[in-house]
Amino acid sequence: MAVKIIESCVNCFACEPVCPSKAIYEAKPHFLVDPKKCTECEGDFPDFQCASICPIEGAILNSLGEAINPPGSLTGIPPEKMAEAMAELQSH
């Protein structure tokens, strides 16, 4: 059981020092989780520490491959509003 960091990670370093298992490391093009070391914070904290500080929705997945912080959950921007704004920008 381990979490996973995917390409939407912006390399902000926030998750690396808060991991109790030292499972997160800097890599190119983005940070990665060592699946052998990740304990999902079992025994240390009730919440995944990395996913509790990560500012980017969707950047960290649980062992089922689901976003721990789904769209809209951190920024408060409704996903359809975001899609609208992005479509608007692209049309220029």
Binding site: F13, I53, L74, G76
Partner: protein
Amino acid sequence: MQLPVLNDAPAHAAEKKGGCSASSCGTTDNQMDSLPDSIREKVQNHPCYSEDAHHYFARMHVAVAPACNIQCHYCNRKYDCANESRPGVVSELLTPDQAVKKTMAVAANIPQMTVLGIAGPGDPLANPERTFETFRRLSEEAPDIKLCVSTNGLALPDAVEELSKHNIDHVTITINCVDPDVGAKIYPWIFWKNKRIKGKKGAKILIEQQQKGLEMLIAKGILVKVNSVMIPGVNDQHLAEVSKVVKSKGAFLHNVMPLIAEAEHGTFYGVMGQRGPTPDELQDLQDSCSGDMNMMRHCRQCRADAVGMLGEDRGDEFTLDKIEDMEIDYQAAMEKRAVIHQAIQAEMDSKRLEKAEKAQQHKQEPKLSTRPVLMAVATSGQGVINMHFGHAKEFLIYEASPDGVRFISHRKADQYCAGDTSCGDGESVLQVTVRTLAGCEAVLCSKVGYEPWEMLEAAGIMPNGEHAMEPIEEAVMAVYKEMAAAGKLDSTPEAVRASA
């Protein structure tokens, strides 16, 4: 040491909404007048605080602190901390070692650089190891450089002890509110004691930490400046209260910056269409708070990423691979810097004297009863008008009135968006620049080309290249008097503002 509280008992201050008070106006540097001696000494040559010093000295930032422990609605976390930098800027992340090298390379080559700040790209105190390693080494190896740090305040109480050990000259806390209900509209979450805490509860903790940190710094005798981002409809009405609270605790400056929100930044405010304040709204708020507290008007928010003097950016000379090859003998550089700093000091002192004399003269002359006027100035430092209109990357905005000339703000030529959505779309650089100057009635520079001349005139802004190399305040006053003599100042400012 307990820092004295500024404007200790301004019983009348609350009535002073806008305009000038007799004591703090005229052509003198009104910021300095009301400061107690101990603080005045600390700030008089400070490029961030002293209005005239910022024409002579420079500061720089190094990006060593990537992580952040909160979320602000005006930040998208892909760019630098929006609290201190210009939105949309990405700095090259440096290790503490690289940051120390870069700072010493710049200091040796640009002796005017006297202040080094850590402001991002995240929150410096959320990266204590990197931040303090940088400070520790610079305090030892380059003791003639003042250090400063800005923070959102969440981790501040735990950092005060360590901060007090280094050459820290001042700390900037971004405080946007003192009320958790307002805070909940600005901060969606914080990371606190191993948990993400959302909404009002998180905002409440953040506010408590900010206030506690502020009090602890003051108790240690460290200068504290407070920054606030003005968000129309969210905290604009609330910031006068913030000013009052932070002043009563001993912060010595309060600096209000405009929110800059663009949909393409992908921030909450950008996407949700929250607008930033217009230049007029910003100035009105700064005026209404200045009766309450010393306001810093020459904030260089937009310059946090620039290396060099006003109007220039020499960042390209100090990229990582270039500093790698530089051999810096800092001991020798420090001696050279000291000599140059002395010369600058002497020049500043004589200019200050001259300015005081001129102000004295001005008081003797019959007082005009004309309305105040905003003018833009293009300068590359030294306190004189010495820049070509087309070369200016930013303008200094001054207000001329019968009471004298006062500095109002910086406006970045390519950045200022007055809160509407017409920014950027197919406009020429020139059009954007002219729009940047909205509200100004004249622009003073060393030269203006034909095309901008016509556009400026059409926009109701009088171009003026007749005062090249003259001291800014004198030139602005001279133009103001010409305008008064020509009968251009008889209309009310309201009418002009409304049409601006």
